[in-house]
């Protein structure tokens, strides 16, 4: 019987054909923790007397959520993680190097890999044809120490994509539409296979945006076949040898299939306070904003910055609007510098932040005031997400965010 991408990869890591619903002990190729989840992982390993790493060269600790640290407690948390790395030989991705998910796809993950991460957006790496999933600190702690994890093999949904985007519509609009259709818990415990001509037509950056937000539909993973574009991306990242092709079998069995025509989409916005609360941008037109945020593991890559810079070039951010730009990694930051994008943003009155998670997690660098409204390219708009339960977050594409920053209110980028 044919296999989905999740079944294929889990089978290859658990010594046999893995059928949905089965519990397997799988070998882990790579693991990550970040500064919010890592210290607890370290504490559990200390408690168990297992301060060790099975694959230190592919275990990465990211100092990205509080980067640089705004408080002594977080500086101390960073110290705990650096110390663990010294003892075990695992890699530390220092402050300013970027968001864990962006850095994992740039430097560490290969098609066919099995990655676990103590961060829900670990699913991002599925875009490279890997099985990548988020777990808690303790699960990942023992995945680091033992090189193994237990998994329930997920059933899969097929996300069949056709057509191509019309001007002003982007991968973020597609993913918000998908989540709006499936619902925030519609794919709970399931793995998504993104397939069809619309999927192969997407750039790697667009695929990362889609895979990244799979978890917002509840999914355990969101996976693309590894194809010529994957190979090209890995070559650009300086690791062409890491490529190998992988695709779902044509007779793979899917629990459900959802079909989307990219050509029929509109710019889409998620209204507070859930990601599946999606509406066409027209219904948000005119909502006054106080902050616009461009960045994160969802939409902080070079193409995202480039689209936004194209919209704001030679113009000014609306009075009273804070426009925050946060490149997802140092690599992206450097390229944006070279291409003059950061200069365009600065001239438009925006504030450029160091690579990292920025204001998305509500720790620092753009916490909302009471009653304030932010339009953001991030993946979550939960109550309190940006540090204040009295704030309101709308999610949208980089183009919609940039157009809104100029107008001072949520704006259809096709009007900008």
């Amino acid at each position: 019987m044919g296999q989905t991408l999740a079944e294929k990869i889990i089978s290859a890591h658990s010594g046999g054909p893995a059928a949905p619903g089965e519990l397997v002990i799988a070998d882990v190729d790579a693991a990550l923790v970040q500064d919010g989840t890592g210290p607890l992982a370290v504490r559990e390993l200390e408690k168990a007397g297992k301060v060790q790493a099975a694959h230190p060269e592919r275990t990465v600790i990211f100092l990205d959520h509080a980067s640089p640290s705004p408080r002594k407690e977080l500086s101390n948390a960073h110290a705990i993680l650096r110390d663990f790395a010294r003892k075990t030989g695992v890699i530390v991705s220092e402050i300013g190097e970027g968001v864990c998910h962006q850095r994992m796809v740039e430097d560490y993950i290969r098609p066919g890999d099995l990655l676990v991460g103590a961060d829900s957006h670990t699913v991002t790496a599925g875009a490279l044809g890997a099985f990548a999933t988020g777990m808690g600190s303790t699960d990942v702690a023992f995945a680091i120490a033992l090189g193994k994890v237990w998994l329930r093999v997920p059933e899969s949904f097929k996300i069949e994509l056709a057509g191509s985007f019309t001007p002003g519509v982007y991968a973020k609009d597609l993913m918000l539409t998908i989540i709006g259709r499936i619902g925030a818990d519609g794919a709970t415990y399931k793995s998504l296979d993104f397939t069809g001509p619309g999927a192969s037509g997407l750039t790697m950056s667009e695929r990362f945006t889609l895979a990244n937000m799979s978890v917002e539909a509840g999914a355990k993973a969101g996976i693309f076949a590894a194809d010529a574009k994957t190979k090209e991306f890995l070559t650009e990242m300086g690791r062409p040898g890491d490529f190998s092709p992988i695709a779902p079998d044509t007779d793979a069995v899917y629990e459900k299939t959802f079909t989307f025509d990219l050509g029929k989409l509109e710019p889409t916005v998620s209204f507070p306070h859930t990601v599946d609360n999606t509406r066409p941008v027209g219904e948000a037109q005119g909502i006054k904003i106080h902050q616009a945020f461009l960045g994160t593991c969802t939409n902080g890559r070079l193409d995202d910055l480039s689209i936004a810079a194209g919209i704001v070039e030679g113009k000014k951010t609306a009075p009273g609007v804070r426009f925050l730009i946060c490149p997802a990694s140092r690599k992206v930051y450097r390229a944006a510098l070279d291409e003059g994008l950061l200069g365009i943003f600065v001239d438009a009155g925006a504030t450029v932040l160091p690579p990292g998670c920025g204001p998305c997690v509500g720790i620092h660098q753009g916490v909302l005031g009471d009653g304030e409204v932010c339009i953001a390219t991030q993946n979550r708009n939960f109550h309190g997400r940006m540090g204040n339960p009295e704030g309101f977050i709308y999610l949208a594409s980089p183009a919609t965010v940039a157009a809104s920053a100029l107008a001072g209110e949520i704006t259809d980028p096709r009007r900008a």
Binding site: L23, I80, D119
Partner: protein, 176 residues
């Protein structure tokens, strides 16, 4: 508080009050990001448990009580601190119509039972009696009875050992 929790877990029968919440309670409601700096101090972080859903929860909850949610309880981030602070408050179990995947897994990893059942009939303040062994939940206030979906064997094994760390310490590897 931890010892009390362990003792409670050892007993198949737990009795306490229901704290009722709606659908889509996220880990940001449970352990808000603005307290990120308290993550290495669980008792302090636990003072803010569920603060963004009910600011009075942490001061009112007593050991043995139950958190009762609706659909998709615990959605969002992977932060294991979410079930940990709920357990730190002495909560005996979380009941919900459905759970987000990572929260569900994390709960059993930290020794907090997450029970799937129809919570519509349960109201804030109801006295509940939960029998982990038989799968029966009795609402003593309403004199009604319901059953929770059986806990998967793997999760039951983790619970019996007191969580994943204790499981690994005991067996040296996964015995699920």
């Amino acid at each position: 508080m931890d010892a009390l929790n362990r003792a409670k877990r050892a007993m198949p029968l737990a009795k306490g009050r229901a704290f009722k919440f709606g659908d889509d309670i996220s880990t940001d409601h449970i352990a808000p990001g603005r307290y990120f700096h308290l993550r290495n101090d669980l008792p302090k972080l636990a003072e803010h448990t569920l603060e963004d859903a009910d600011p009075t929860f942490a001061s009112r909850v007593k050991p043995g009580d139950f958190v009762v949610g609706g659909r998709n309880f615990g959605l969002g981030s992977s932060r294991e601190h979410a079930p940990r602070v709920i357990r730190e408050c002495g909560v005996a179990a979380v009941l919900a119509k459905s759970f987000a995947r990572i929260f569900y897994r994390n709960s059993f990893n930290v020794g907090l039972p997450a029970l799937v059942c129809d919570t519509d009939g349960i109201e804030e303040g109801d006295e509940l009696e939960v029998n982990l062994g038989s799968g029966v939940i009795r609402d003593l206030t309403k004199s009604t009875e319901l059953r929770f979906t059986p806990i998967p064997d793997s999760m039951r094994a983790l619970l019996a050992d007191g969580g994943l760390t204790e499981h690994i310490v005991k067996h040296g590897t996964f015995k699920l």
